[in-house]
């Protein structure tokens, strides 16, 4: 399953979003965003099938963009 990354404004938000997903039994991991355009940011990595759930949290956790990662690289799919 391809992975997606929800890039947020701070590690605090990433930690909180990850906690929120984990509470719903969704496997989520806080990571240092690969290819961050702003220079150092954090993202929550999870399976692509949870994209709609992540989108729901855009405002609450100030998600900046959702990035997809597959064998060809990283794409902004927000």
């Amino acid at each position: 399953m391809p992975q997606i990354y929800a890039e947020v404004g701070s590690i605090t938000m990433a930690t909180r979003l990850s906690k929120e997903l984990s509470a719903q039994k969704i496997k989520a991991e806080v990571i240092h965003t690969p290819n961050s355009t702003s220079g150092c940011s954090y993202s929550v990595k999870t399976d692509e099938k949870y994209k709609d759930i992540l989108t729901k949290y855009t405002a609450r956790y100030k998600i900046k963009r959702i990035i997809k990662s597959d064998s060809d690289g990283f794409y902004d799919i927000s």
Binding site: G9, S10, I11, T12, M13, A14, T15, R16, K19, V30, I31, H32, S38, G39, C40, S41, Y42, K62
Partner: protein, 384 residues
């Protein structure tokens, strides 16, 4: 080893819950990590520690957005961040005469402020604050509990005045956080500065600032936040905006354990215990000729801090004798709050301050009152 009776709790609580000590030791050994700097597991774990403690504090202060809590080294830094952050572009501030120098010095440095005097028991009248509002007033600052007299201010009433007049309300909770009830929404608090190492029972080097939605702060300290590294301007996202530099992760973890302890015991029960000791001490001191206790006698409007004077003896000398001859730690002088002493009538000689914490007992009250009786008796023997 004989332990000193420690009553300098308003400065810092010396004894901490065992879980706090264990956590500090364990996290110093295992998690002396830079939270949120890099992607390795220690960085991520450190960030989780910080977030977990913020969540606990949010529960204690009834804060709905825990990400708006930033950690600082102490309440002084939090107050400086708040005062300078709101008034960086100018504007007038209202403060009370019961403030600590951690409020008075920053506003005095900025220059445009009014001091509203409390009554001689140390209580501020909210109407006096309302009357001090000017066209350019931006900020009202009020201590929740005085570090001298222990008087608890009518924060909710002052908060309503601030809100009704479109002003930002900053509360200095250095002496109240952990014991006196705090509800940021119900009390209309926009900025809450607290220390972690006093009645919150956490380790030294901890404090924090809650920034409500209405407060638009300019960052006071800028630097590395682990985020937006390509930008030369400070991120405006909370808490990053206020988290420049490495956080004290082990101490923040231990503070989290302290908050667990308080939530488990119940802050109202802890306050009731401290008030019981304070009331007993006040009653005993009131019965000694030549001793005057500062502040009112309504215990519902005080915390566990009791300040008093001994006629004919400087407060520092009383405190010194208590320490040297009776092994009791108190604090004499002006407690970094000269205007409060002026308000309470002790500007000339200061006062002796004793403050109770969860770990004090009636034994400590008796020891202090007997010691004061003794000191007064000896003073009379010298004079007559």
């Amino acid at each position: 080893m004989v332990f000193m009776i420690y009553l300098d709790n308003p400065a810092t609580t010396k004894r901490k819950p065992l879980s706090v000590v264990t956590s500090l030791t364990k996290n110093t050994l295992l998690n002396s990590v830079n939270a949120g700097r890099g992607g390795h597991k220690y960085s991520i774990k450190g960030a989780k520690i910080v977030t977990d403690t913020a969540d606990k504090l949010a529960k204690l202060f009834k804060i709905s957005a825990p990400e708006r809590i930033a950690f600082t080294q102490n309440a002084t830094l939090a107050l400086n961040m708040a005062i300078n952050g709101i008034l960086s572009q100018g504007g007038h501030a209202i403060v009370t005469s019961m403030e600590h120098n951690s409020v008075l010095r920053p506003v005095n440095k900025l220059g445009n402020y009014t001091v509203v005097y409390a009554d001689n028991e140390g209580y501020v009248n909210p109407e006096d604050i309302k009357a001090a509002i000017k066209d350019d007033t931006k900020l009202i600052v009020c201590t929740h509990a005085s570090n001298v007299s222990g008087s608890i201010q009518p924060i909710a009433e002052i908060g309503k005045i601030a809100r009704a007049n479109g002003l930002i309300f900053l509360v200095d909770a250095a002496q109240s956080a952990g014991t006196v009830d705090i509800d940021v929404d119900a009390m209309c608090i926009d900025l809450l500065a607290f220390s972690g190492h006093k009645s919150l029972l956490g380790p030294l080097g901890t404090g924090g600032l809650y920034v409500g939605e209405r407060a638009r702060l300019e960052p006071y300290i800028t630097g590395g936040t682990g985020s937006l590294s390509k930008s030369l301007t400070q991120p405006l996202t909370l808490p990053d905006m206020l988290h420049s530099g490495t956080l004290n992760t082990p101490a923040i973890a231990a503070l989290g354990r302290a908050v667990d302890f308080i939530l488990k015991k119940g802050s109202s029960k802890i306050l009731a215990h401290e008030r019981l000791l304070a009331e007993n001490l006040i009653n005993r001191l009131d019965s000694i000729d030549g001793v005057s206790v500062l502040g009112g006698r309504d215990m519902n409007k005080r915390n566990g801090t009791v300040a008093f004077t001994v006629d004919g003896m400087p407060s520092e000398e009383v405190s010194r004798i208590l320490a040297v001859q009776y092994d009791i730690a108190t604090r004499g002088g002006w407690h970094c709050a000269y205007l409060a002493h002026k308000t309470l009538g002790t500007a000339r000689h200061g006062a002796v301050r004793a403050g109770f914490s969860y770990y004090n007992s009636m034994y400590d009250v008796r020891a202090l009152s007997y010691a004061i009786s003794d000191i007064v008796k000896n003073l009379r023997a010298v004079h007559f």
